[in-house]
Amino acid sequence: MKIKNLVMTVAAAGLIFSAQSSVAGDTLASIKKKDSVTCGVSTGLAGFSQKDEKGAWSGLDVDVCRSVAAAVLGDATKVQFKPLTAKERFLALQSGEVDILSRNTTWTHTRDTSLGLNFAGVIYYDGAGFMVSKKLGVKSATELDGANACIQAGTSTELAIADYFRENSMKYKAITFDTSDQTRAGFESGRCDFLVSDQSQLYSLRIGLKDPSSAVVLPEVISKEPLGPVVRQNDDQWFNIVKWVVNASIEGEFQGVTSANATDLKANGKPGQKRLLGSEGDLGEKLGLSADWAYQVIKQVGNYSESFERNVGQDSPLKISRGLNAQWNKGGILYSPAMR
């Protein structure tokens, strides 16, 4: 708690005292100078950003940070992770404490327009859903009238659930918690009857229960929750870099470039592959990066599919299927603008 307050205070002080230039300044230059990317992640969410026993971070959100470090500094390990709660995240980014916020953050109109931030793309198309205890025998969210809800404070889910219950003229009581661990503990103790969160999180929270089979995830998806990395407004170069690093990973999968074959394709691939990997054209230079920026991303971190399967897909305990997050030609809505 003390540390959390300190983060808030330092962040607020940053807003108050810093001269204009240092906040809105040149993020790329400052990253090159300190030789690492500072990345705001969650305090621990399986599949998205979590720390193992050795202190190494992994997850879909973490891979975005690593990809950016690979593209900018040529080394995916040059990342400093800063765990943030949902409540702290935007202030930390606004004040310049982190260079990117990659923390399962929903892209909303209000956040994009009034916080001085820009969303650099979508890395996971999510939607809020419900998890209930099996004992209650609830089959649909429409049966939840009068129930207590466990929610993480300061999330877009907090708003989505209010809308959903109002639309269906039902009542609920919101019990809010600071971290997703506390939310799960509240659900387990019976303080609330159901837990509401992004679907992807529900699966990872369910795995963390003492008895995962005691809870069920309801079929309803009540909101759009496109998750993606966020950067400060007024630094278009940095915004472009993060945006195109995300696209490079998606385009990599589309073009069939993987971490295993990237080196080979860089020399002998098709024109599109060569352009992406930097052996043809000048895409890197236009971003202010080296020619092999995307090659480094795919070589060191992998394309979108590799990252997805490793962290949340079939090679992970979560076993989430691609669904909406498949390429556009494979039944999903993932689509990178043209790499040329």
């Binding site: 916080l115 300061g154 609920y172």
Partner: protein, 403 residues
């Protein structure tokens, strides 16, 4: 009040000839004014820089500023509200609800902490070994554990209670489970005003009786059994009115719905845990203040009281405690203020007080940290100023009157 003028000023006024002959900057009055204005200019400049710099930075970063967000609909639910609340209500309403919840837990905490503090503070002087030791253990244990741990501890204890459908049932009226304490609610019917007015009449009666008894004792020395008569009046008159008007009340009992209890009054576990932890923690400090206050009263006072034949219990309540108040009150003041500030720990367990609900949830949805933090800190400042004001007035009364 001549204490408002310094000795220097008084001297100056009485000896104008000296100050007239020197340079104006050697004149203490002018010099005072110069220093004061310099400080003022510095302060205004300082705050102006901070505020304008913040606003510039915010607009340069494209962050919205201003207070227009207060009128817009919040769109999220608040767990506990003393006012009727819908998720479509404005942020201003959220702000008000937060303040009320902070004030509620502060008042409950202050009352309980004071009771606990006085009981254990006085118990320290008990002749009974066990009671004395319990008082010492209470103070040492709860004073030495961080208050946030105590809050989380009580909350965890609450979380071990059974779920709603397996509630602890006390006489089919009171239910206790992990989602809170459910008690019957008193509902007024027509004619209830009569009973309330009877209660008010009884209170006025007790007040008048007390004044009369005091006067009589001062004049004649005769005592009147004031406590017994007061209790009889306070219970008797409203009870008579109640019977006379045919009991114009009924109870609304909580009953189990599909998920939870409906009806009655719900006291949420977050509130109970916070109020419990804060009053027990602050009570330990107040007990120490009470002990110090009592020890500050010279032994001679007790001996003198005994020699005029006062009973031991009367010595405590009439001689020792009133005199010790002048030591206790300033300490109470700061304990009350820390209690109010400590309510912000609620954010650890999600009790929806000002800091959690406004500087937490609302801040995150709106993103205007500077405005929201400013409003929040102004409120805590204001609440503590009120406490300070009341306690200082009380302190004035408790102070030694010396001439």
């Amino acid at each position: 009040m001549f204490s408002s003028k310094t000795t220097e000023q008084v001297k100056l006024e009485t000896r104008p000839s000296i100050s007239g002959s020197t340079k104006f900057y050697n004149n203490p009055i002018y010099r005072g004014w110069i220093y004061q204005s310099l400080l003022m200019v510095f302060l205004i400049g300082f705050f102006y820089t901070i505020i304008s710099n913040t606003l510039d930075n915010m607009s340069a970063q494209g962050i919205k500023s201003g207070f227009s967000f207060l009128g817009t609909s919040a769109g999220f639910d608040v767990l506990m509200s003393l006012l009727p609340f819908e998720t479509t209500d404005s942020y201003l309403k959220i702000f008000t609800i937060g303040i009320l919840n902070t004030v509620l837990v502060s008042i409950v905490g202050i009352i309980l902490a004071t009771i606990l503090g006085f009981i254990f503070g006085i118990a320290y002087f008990s002749h009974n070994y066990l009671i004395r030791k319990i008082s010492i253990i209470y103070v040492e244990v709860f004073r030495n554990i961080p208050v946030i741990l105590q809050v989380i501890f009580w909350y965890t204890v609450f979380n071990l209670l059974p779920i709603a459908r397996e509630s602890i049932n006390i006489g089919d009226a009171i239910y206790l489970n992990v989602t809170g304490l459910y008690i019957p609610k008193l509902v007024d019917e027509s004619g209830s005003g009569f009973v309330y007015s009877a209660l008010i009449v009884a209170i006025i009666g007790v007040y008048l009786l007390k004044r009369w008894a005091k006067k009589r004792q001062e004049q004649t020395g005769e005592q009147f059994p004031i406590l017994r008569t007061s209790v009889a009046l306070l219970i008797g008159i409203p009870l008579l009115a109640l019977l006379f008007s045919g009991v114009p009340f009924h109870f609304d009992y909580p009953s189990l719905d599909r998920f939870n209890f409906k009806g009655g009054t719900t006291i949420i576990p977050e509130f109970i845990a916070l109020a419990f932890a804060l009053s027990i923690y602050t009570g330990a400090f107040i007990a120490e203040a009470v002990r110090a206050g009592i020890q500050s009263v010279p032994k001679g006072q007790t001996e003198a009281a005994r020699s005029v034949g006062l009973k031991e219990s009367k010595i405590m309540s009439l001689i020792i405690v009133p005199q010790s108040m002048r030591v206790i009150t300033p300490m109470l003041n700061s304990e009350y203020q820390s209690l109010v500030k400590n309510t912000t720990i609620a954010t650890a367990i999600g009790y929806p007080e000002l800091f959690t609900v406004f500087a937490g949830s609302a801040l995150n949805q709106v993103g205007q940290a500077v405005e929201i933090m400013f409003m929040t800190l102004v409120i805590y400042f204001a609440i503590n100023m009120v406490i300070s004001f009341v306690m200082n007035r009380f302190n004035k009364r408790a102070e030694i009157t010396s001439r």
